[in-house]
């Protein structure tokens, strides 16, 4: 095979067995790799009713065909599993260099099955694969685990691991690689913890073969040129990182504030990318083969929050910032560092704290619940302490580690959890941006922005700009973004590459790399196939059309101040058209004709 290695690794932690299997060529062709391949494996091999934290759930680590090549920003891998947070066929996507190293070691996917009896880690050095004892590392932070594993294996080993949060089965636990890159969403870290798999360390020296090297090089150079020529990919993200969005979303009236009670903050500028660049940025940092370098190596010298690390991204700065009433960027960065150390999803962690703060101000949580802490909005010191408590599973942190839905539900106010399908929504208010609301409501893993980033045209005005307040045309827009991202995630390239290239360039590079003739239509169809297969899983789990919705606050409670004052989201005007254009019936179920068209 070209692009794909042709080998999949299967590790059964209950039996302690390791097998090599041939990667299914037809599955690779139709589902591309990474997210698509993982969704196909989980869908075929895991019973939807299985306990997500039990031995019957599986965990797939999968790079894509681009991963490890010199295609632009080709450093991604996906983790796919049944989510313990919400039961969806879920997964998360991370950059860095771990994914490429898996390819160099010779694997298209690593399937983890069963549960170990004691903590273990997986050591992969090309054909050498061993399940090793990790008892001494259980309880360690991500950085300490990474250091210890490099000492035990190889100083150049690439490490993906969980921190204490994953060990404690926190439903918002992430899997971290290279210490600071996160497969953050949907609680994948808890699945790893339930299997007592502390880490995977990998080093590889193999090569990825290319079907048509001349055509691939030409297609890659064309794509790289377009990304570098684009102001977003070429300059903007490198200079200011994703946190530059704080001011844009705020000035657009779509920056959620105080657990989404409002969508404009007069102090947002204090936590934006401009402030970060002026005060805490050490240097930009890129993943494997990246020509964008949106990552932020940062340093905080303020003694109260001092530290060195990476981040924050826009979403993290928002969640620990204005959504929690906080404008102290040093504290926000400290919270971000702690999430990376303990292995927590920054979006869900920050949003859960914001939810807890609203519940506290309403008197639904008191100091008896919060270990004596004052959870008023804006209390930066307490916000950081709550992250620590959640990370180690201490006191009130044990409630926070289950995410905002279960916390709010426990006091009778699930409506104050700003989630879709129990997963916290990212930092774009659907009352100010209609199409992103439809994307949240229909997203297969719950509240998610990256799998349908309509913000690019609704707010930033890229491509064919559309009115963020309009509902017309948003169903079709969402479907294009969702399907394109499904295919893109499966290819191993980064979402940010699309700030310069589109499906045609991606399909062209993929064809030259693999030798499979992907037209733009076939590439997009693969995306639709993956999306529909995820939908079928969710229906089997028990989700219905009633779950394709937004928190009632966004549908009925108008924004109070700022440019979007007075607006709510009009999901009801978009959802029926979305179902129709998807080829789904009125209950949101894919029709037999649609399934036949997609060979599902």
């Amino acid at each position: 095979m070209n692009g794909w290695i042709g080998t999949t690794l299967r590790v059964d932690l209950s039996r302690g067995t390791i097998k090599r299997e041939r990667t299914n060529k037809l599955v690779a062709r139709d589902y591309i790799g990474a997210r698509g391949m993982g969704v196909k494996i989980i869908s075929d091999e895991v019973d939807p009713s299985a306990d997500a934290l039990g031995p019957d759930n599986k965990l797939v680590f999968a790079p894509g065909p681009f991963t490890g090549t010199f295609a632009p920003s080709a450093g991604r891998y996906n983790v796919i599993t049944k989510s313990p947070l919400n039961g969806t066929i879920a997964g998360s996507n991370s950059g860095g260099v771990f994914g490429p190293e898996l390819k160099f070691a010779g694997y298209d996917a690593v399937i983890i099955e069963g549960q170990a009896k004691k903590p273990v880690y997986l050591w992969i050095k090309n054909d050498l694969v061993e399940i090793r004892d990790a008892s001494a590392m259980w309880g360690m932070t991500v950085a300490d685990t990474t250091d210890a594993l490099r000492e035990q294996t190889d100083p150049d080993a690439k490490v993906a691991c969980i921190g204490p949060a994953g060990e404690n089965l926190s439903l918002i636990a992430s899997i971290m690689n290279e210490m600071h890159r996160a497969a953050g969403r949907t609680g994948v870290g808890a699945v790893m913890g339930s299997k007592k798999l502390k880490a995977i360390a990998v080093i590889g020296t193999g090569e990825i073969t290319v079907a048509d090297p001349v055509a691939f090089k030409a297609a890659v150079m064309d794509a790289r040129g377009k990304i570098q020529a684009n102001p977003v990919g070429g300059v903007g993200l490198k200079a200011y990182g994703t946190d530059v969005l704080v001011n844009i979303l705020n000035q657009s009236g779509a920056l959620p504030v105080n657990n989404w009670q409002d969508a404009y903050s007069p102090v947002a500028d204090k936590i934006g990318g401009e402030s970060l660049a002026a005060n805490q940025l050490v240097r930009p940092k890129g993943c494997f083969a990246c020509i964008i370098s949106c990552g932020r190596a940062t340093k905080v010298t303020n003694p109260a929050y001092a530290g060195v690390g990476e981040g924050p991204e826009y979403e993290s700065a928002w969640a620990f910032g204005v959504d929690s009433g906080i404008d102290n960027l040093d504290a926000i960065i400290k919270a971000n560092y702690l999430c990376n150390e303990y292995g927590l999803d920054t979006i869900s962690m920050g949003s859960t704290i914001a939810c807890a703060m609203e519940l506290y101000e309403l008197g639904l949580l008191t100091k008896k619940d919060t270990d004596g802490l004052d959870l008023s909005f804006g209390n930066a010191e307490v916000m950081v302490e709550l992250v620590r408590k959640t990370g180690v599973g201490e006191g009130f942190g044990k409630r926070l580690q289950e995410g905002s839905y279960r916390l709010a539900d426990s006091v009778g106010r699930p409506d104050l959890s700003m989630t879709v399908k129990k997963q916290e929504m990212p930092a774009y208010d659907p009352r100010g941006v209609q199409g992103i609301g439809l994307n949240y409501a229909t997203n297969n893993r719950g509240g998610c922005h990256v799998r349908g980033y309509t913000i690019a045209v609704e707010v930033l005005g890229q491509g064919a700009p559309t009115d963020p307040h309009a509902t017309e045309g948003k169903a079709a827009l969402d479907i294009v973004f969702q399907d394109l991202t499904s295919a893109l995630d499966s290819s191993g390239s980064c979402l940010f590459a699309t700030f310069g290239i589109g499906g045609a360039e991606l399909a062209g590079m993929l064809s030259a790399l693999t030798g499979v003739d992907y037209s733009l239509e076939e590439f997009m169809k693969a995306g639709a196939r993956i999306w529909n297969l995820e939908r079928l899983w969710n229906l089997k789990v028990g989700y219905t059309a009633a779950d394709d919705t937004l928190p009632v606050r966004l549908l009925t409670e108008p924004i109070k101040t700022g440019p979007s004052k007075g607006r709510v989201n009009h999901l009801d005007q978009m959802l029926p058209e979305y179902y129709a254009l998807r080829g789904w019936d009125a209950a949101g179920v894919p029709t037999p004709e649609k399934l036949a068209e997609l060979a599902l």
């Binding site: 001011n247 401009e274 009115d467 440019p563």
Partner: protein
């Protein structure tokens, strides 16, 4: 009229904001006025072959001018205008 600058436009103008005591009729006139004030680098950043530059995001009271008429978008003395370079994130 309040003009707010962000990211690279702060470097370009050496200002975070400006209260403009003039009454341009539309975005084109506003950008001409501002180009006169800040000089050639600013003009190059906001105009591209006589059109609104694709390298910037311009909001009038939170509305992206690309959907409200581009350079012909009318402006009023009480408006708030936000000027960004083209950036994105996620």
């Amino acid at each position: 009229m309040l003009i707010k600058y962000f990211a690279t436009f702060r470097e370009l103008t050496k200002e975070n904001s400006l209260v403009l005591n003039a009454e341009p009729a539309n975005i084109a006139e506003l950008l001409e006025l501002l180009s006169d004030r800040y000089g050639t680098p600013f003009r190059k950043a906001v105009f591209e072959d006589g059109e609104l530059s694709s390298l910037m995001i311009l909001l009038v009271n939170g509305r992206n001018v690309r959907i409200t008429g581009g350079l012909a978008t009318p402006v009023n003395p009480t408006d708030e205008v936000s000027v960004f370079p083209m950036v994105a994130g996620g």
